[in-house]
Amino acid sequence: MDSVIETDRLSGGYGKELVLREISLRVPRASIYGFLGPNGAGKTTALRMVLGLLQPVQGAVRLFGEPIPAALPAILRRAGSLIEQPSLYDHLTGAENLEIARRLKFLKRGDADRAVDAMGIGDYLQRRTGEYSRGMRQRLGVAIAMLGSPELLLLDEPMNGLDAGGLERLRTALQHLNREYGTTILLSSHQFEQVEQVATHIGIMSSSGDLLFQGPRELLSERVPQALLIKVDRRDDAVRVLESAGFSVDSSKEYLAIHGATSAMASEVNQLLVSSGIGVYHLALDSASLEALFVKVTTTIKAWDAL
């Protein structure tokens, strides 16, 4: 699968402070890439470098296979972005702010309508953005980034300040863009629950600016050790069989549990129990939330190259 965004050992920051440390991002085409990390991990810095707003100290960036900054600014025709908080002219109305962005993207009149509908901001477009609430500003900022249904959408903390309705609209709009237009979406956030609902791929940054993991969402679940929960007809026999095979079994709760399991291990356990004539009622990896996986990754894994 080809990558829309590729960075090669990208390092950099502001002044002498190094925020990013040799990160090599691979954002596959038509994916929704959840770029996760704690505050200050360097997510925004990475996005700025991808757009050519900030020069890396070391490393290279390629957008659609073309080197940055050499391909700027023409390559930006294919991208929409929202970096940090929305940049709006507060003395102008929402419609005027959209019009400025439409003209600077060389889009036709009416091209803004789809983004306006998607983010549900039609009712307050005639009001000055200085009067907007934080959530309204965020919606307008996302709508501006979405103008023209770009091939690549870079959204930095787009969920900030959005209420439940706004979050729902944003998720729907992102999934619609991704499905209908094949838009690749890089979504930086520290709101794991929200990202979990839309992301097909995940990248996890540590607080020190290292990229700890990246790859498909399922791969993250597979690569991070989880608890394998088992329910059988003959509990004591199952414990004996498993322990004799070298597994450490936690039998303190209703379900037997093998901590630190992977999906490969689940298959092995199942075969072992069945071949011993033990009836297996339930055998599943504890489906950890993205947040739980994030915590595991950032606390137990130093570095992975998942691709």
Binding site: I83, E84, E96, R103, F106
Partner: protein, 264 residues
């Protein structure tokens, strides 16, 4: 060649259109209208403060009566330019717009060039409002004192003088836009401009005005017709220096600003 020209025209059109939208209900536009109105009112007071009406031909009377107006204009123009440049740049600084602008498929330098162009346009619009106002002031004075200047308005001379002041101010426009784009806020760029103007006015009497013809803040003043027979410069040299200096410094400023990383 043809394609790149078309692209440049498309980009230029988009930039002009968006900059015009940004001016709606904005301080820079308000300034361009209010500043000359203030100058017109002041000029009226100055004209009526004369002890006696001027003598000589109609042309000579016009020259004398407009003299203080031109001086006002030459002093106000650098201040207006400083405010316009700072307010225009602040439209982007205030909303942290630069990063958003640079994420559009448009060369960075062209955003700064547009700012310079609009700073000049707004200052010159102010001049276009001030000049008829000055003429109105003189005509009111003429009516009160029965000078009969209605039929002898020296349009060519007036437009020529105003035009020269505009061209001479290009260097100042480039410098102030440069400073304003680099420094966030209004106080610092305007403070620098006012300090520079005071320095320029202090230097004015030295070397029979020669320094004024090479000093950005006093170039509009140096571009005015001079009655000083000992003047060591020609107003046209101030016009040429201001205009071509503005183009050169403007180009360098655009290059400098575009290469800098944008932190907001």
């Amino acid at each position: 060649m043809g394609r790149s020209l078309t692209t440049m025209i498309t980009i230029g059109w988009a930039l002009l259109g968006t900059e015009a939208i940004k001016l709606r209900r904005s301080v820079p536009l308000l300034l361009a209208v209010l500043a000359p109105v203030l100058a017109i009112v002041l000029e009226l007071a100055v004209v009526f403060d004369r002890l006696s009406p001027p003598f000589g031909s109609a042309a000579a009377k016009w020259r004398v009566l407009l003299q203080s107006g031109w001086a006002w204009m030459a002093l106000c123009l650098p201040v207006l330019i400083a405010f316009e440049a700072a307010c225009l740049a602040n439209l982007e600084h205030a909303g942290k717009q630069w990063k958003q602008l640079f994420a559009f498929p448009i060369p960075r330098w062209s955003f700064y060039a547009t700012k310079m162009l609009f700073c000049g346009l707004l200052a010159w619009i102010g001049l276009l409002i001030a000049v008829p106002g000055y003429i109105g002031d003189v005509l009111i004075y003429s009516a009160v004192h029965g000078l009969g200047l209605w039929s002898s308005i020296p349009w060519l001379e007036i437009l020529g003088t105003a035009g020269k002041a505009c061209l001479a101010s290009c260097l100042l426009i480039a410098i102030q836009t440069w400073i304003s784009a680099r420094v966030s806020g209004i106080a610092m760029p305007v403070g620098i401009a006012l300090a520079a103007l005071v320095v320029g006015l202090t230097l004015l009497p030295f070397a029979n005005g020669k320094i004024a013809a090479w000093y950005p803040s006093t170039l509009p003043l140096a571009a005015l017709p001079t009655n000083n027979p000992r003047a060591l410069y020609s107003p046209m040299s101030a016009v040429l220096f201001g205009f071509f200096g503005g183009i050169l410094v403007g180009a360098f400023a655009c290059w400098d600003l575009a290469r800098r990383p944008q932190s907001n």
